[in-house]
């Protein structure tokens, strides 16, 4: 039965779903990269994802309009980001703990609304697969890379865009300087507060889209606490990826491939207890953190609130 894993169809299946499963990580982790690059640790991702997932799902279910769902999720994410920005930038609250607060808030509210407005698990017709003409016909490769839905493609497009913005634009330079040396940035006339507001709200929007990608593009259902730790893994991937979009992509792919493998192991009925299989990605994350963290340096001002010296 183990040998089943190595048939071509199964391998293609594992890779294709691996590519797909990386989507929510990519959105959330890229958003987190922007936040952390500017010196803000957002631990509320999970809560923002859950709210985004619910908002998108509910709107898509009631209006039948998937894009409206994504839009509403983005607005919800932006509002959450705005609240978090106010708390961490203006009130200079401890970022780690306030993030946990936002997580609990998002989890509670999404669960509350789910029970109040839906009551039962329903399904929605999510984003359809888009077969890229020509490319999707290539055997194997076509199925793996070019037969996904639109939110998947956009997630991968975000990687080079994020790299470009962070490294090749003035905005990116400002973000990085605010995260490395806010005092210097401030003295050069960069508004630390404005930059951080921007990155935190962007992170909120992207986290909400990450949630939406789960509820209306990948799984097409909403359930209580459906993210089950995904948002925290997204934060871990930022450390793993050394605060680089390409690194995050690598981490997200590694992680989702392991996850995909784990799912296929269960599908094929390979006799590894499913609980142990589900455990693997988390064990892997810890090992990856051990390997990755000591090697690179975090942005100097990460988690440090900025206060102008008078």
């Amino acid at each position: 039965m183990i040998s089943d894993l190595f048939s071509t169809t199964v391998l293609i299946g594992i890779l294709a779903s691996g590519i797909r499963l990386a989507t929510p990580y990519l959105y959330a982790s890229i958003g987190e990269v922007f936040g952390q690059k500017s010196g803000v640790l957002n631990l509320g991702i999970e809560g923002q994802m859950l709210l985004g997932a619910f908002a998108a799902f509910y709107v898509a279910l009631t209006t039948g309009n998937l894009w409206l769902g994504v839009l509403v999720a983005m607005i919800v994410g932006a509002v959450m980001g705005l609240a978090m920005a106010f708390v961490t930038v203006n009130l200079r609250a401890q970022q780690g703990i306030s993030g946990i607060g936002f997580y609990l808030f998002g989890m509670g509210v999404s669960d509350l609304l789910f029970q109040k407005l839906l009551g039962t698990v329903e399904t929605v017709k999510g984003f359809p697969k888009i077969f890229i003409p020509g490319l999707s016909d290539i055997p194997g490769v076509g199925e793996i890379f070019f037969s996904q839905n639109l939110l998947v493609y956009i997630a991968y497009l975000l990687v080079p865009i994020a790299w470009f913005v962070l490294n090749k634009t003035t905005l990116g330079l400002k973000i990085r300087s605010v995260g490395e040396n806010p005092d210097a940035a401030d003295s050069l006339g960069v508004s630390v507060a404005r930059i951080r507001y921007f990155t935190i709200i962007l992170g909120g929007i992207l986290s909400a889209v990450a949630g939406a990608s789960l509820s209306i593009a990948l799984l097409n259902v909403f359930q209580q606490n459906m993210t089950s730790g995904l948002g925290f893994i997204a934060v871990a991937l930022v450390y793993f990826g050394a605060w680089k979009p390409a690194g995050v992509l690598g981490g997200a792919l590694l992680f989702s491939m392991i996850n995909s493998l784990q799912l296929w192991i269960q599908v094929l009925g390979i006799p590894i207890p499913s609980d142990i299989a589900v455990m693997m990605p988390y064990v892997l994350t810890i090992l990856v953190l051990v390997a990755a963290v000591s090697r690179v340096r975090a942005p100097s001002a990460l988690t440090k609130p900025f206060e102008r010296e008078d």
């Binding site: 009130l91 609990l104 810890i286």
Partner: protein, 386 residues
């Protein structure tokens, strides 16, 4: 005379410090009321049901205390770790592993006398949680792994470990025979169950938790170890220069923090459920006490004694939420959301505390160090130094 003036302002600002969390809770309840209005529910009716559910009868109050017990135990651990500036989010997993260890003891040593098995099981729970907290501690101290992330991962691992054990090696032999195979352990012998204090579900665990609160207070403020743990949290660099082994204390803080959560898990099994059962999720076993204990500890200003009323308050919210769900059909998830808001409001209100602290320190002519979130700490220090 300047001293007298300082004392007066000290008193006033201390009072405000103590009241800040109360304001935070009121603000959260206010936001909750707005949310209830959106759900077309009368907030007054809802909160009345909440109050009745928590304090309406002696039975209700006993339930509140039963719910408060694991919160307090987790909160005590949080007091230790957060004072060391180590953020332990792993209470859920630590509770689970503590419960697994304790349950194993309870199911294995069936020939021993009850008091001995209970003692051993509680110690096993303490040890199990300690191991589960100690691992992220080691990873933080020696591999620089962010403890927030590693403790969250350890939560997920613990859940799967529990599911695996309850479906396989630890499954109730009776269930193993049946087709349903409900993932649960056998029931503990009656002699091994924590004695009840009054004829309700209130059990000895509550008393143990209160005694431990006093012990943790003594540990943190009356022993060298506690002083060092707090020093590491306040200023790791200065502590290192002072010859304190910072890494070792980081590990110890997380280990102890996990141990108290593990004990919380053990008391849940031995005092409430008398067996372990899983619905596949962490909260199915813990009731999210691993998270809510953090809320209680923050609310109690990371002070073990203040954590007692804080835990009772949040225990009351949880018990009352069930009644609220029945009476006005508002899902108890509302309370999770409100707990989140309390956390946000409490840490946000720190800004005022810090500002006053700065003023106090400036008045006392000490040089200022940016203080950790722990807060209230400097004034404690100033008091004992004086």
């Amino acid at each position: 005379m300047a001293m007298k003036k300082l004392l007066q302002s000290e008193w006033v600002s201390r009072l405000v410090d103590v009241l800040l969390p109360v304001f935070a809770a009121l603000a959260a309840l206010f936001v909750g009321a707005v949310m209830l209005l959106f759900l077309k529910v009368n907030p007054i009716e809802a909160y009345k049901a909440l109050w009745d559910g928590a304090f309406g009868s002696s039975n209700a109050f006993a339930e509140t205390l039963v719910k408060a017990t694991p919160l307090l135990l987790v909160a005590l651990g949080i007091c230790i770790s957060f004072r060391a500036d180590v953020i332990n989010i792993g209470g859920e997993g630590q509770m689970i592993v503590g419960a697994i260890f304790a349950t194993w003891v309870g199911l294995t040593f069936t020939g021993l006398p009850g008091w001995l098995v209970i003692t051993l099981a509680m110690l096993a729970g303490f040890a199990g949680g300690g191991i589960w907290g100690g691992i992220p501690g080691l990873l933080k101290a020696y591999f620089n792994v962010n403890e927030i992330l590693s403790t969250v991962m350890m939560n997920a691992i613990a859940v799967q470990l529990m599911n695996f054990l309850l479906r396989g090696p630890l499954i109730d032999p009776a269930q193993a025979e049946l087709a349903s195979k409900i993932p649960q352990t056998a029931r503990l012998l009656e002699a091994f169950q924590l004695p009840r204090l009054i004829p309700t579900r209130l059990h000895l665990g509550a008393l143990i938790a209160v005694i431990l609160a006093v012990l943790v207070y003594i540990l943190l403020w009356r022993t060298t170890l506690g002083y060092r743990i707090r020093a590491v949290g306040q200023n790791p660099h200065a502590s290192r220069y002072a010859g304190i082994k910072v890494q070792r204390h980081v590990v110890l803080a997380l280990l102890l923090s996990g141990a108290f959560a593990g004990l919380a898990g053990a008391t849940q099994v031995f005092g409430v459920n008398y067996r372990m059962i899983t619905d596949g999720s962490a909260s199915g076993f813990t009731g999210s006490a691993g998270f809510n204990g953090i809320v209680a500890a923050l609310f109690g200003q990371l002070h073990p004694i203040l954590s007692i009323p804080a835990s009772i308050l949040f225990g009351a919210l949880l018990v009352g939420a069930n009644k609220m769900q029945r009476v006005v059909q508002v899902p108890s998830a509302l309370i999770i959301a409100l707990n989140g808001l309390v956390v946000v409001f409490v840490v946000s209100s720190e800004v005022w505390r810090r500002r006053r602290q700065k003023r106090r320190l400036a008045a006392a002519g000490q040089d200022d160090e940016s203080s950790p979130h722990a807060g209230g700490e400097k004034s404690q220090q100033a008091e004992t130094d004086a």
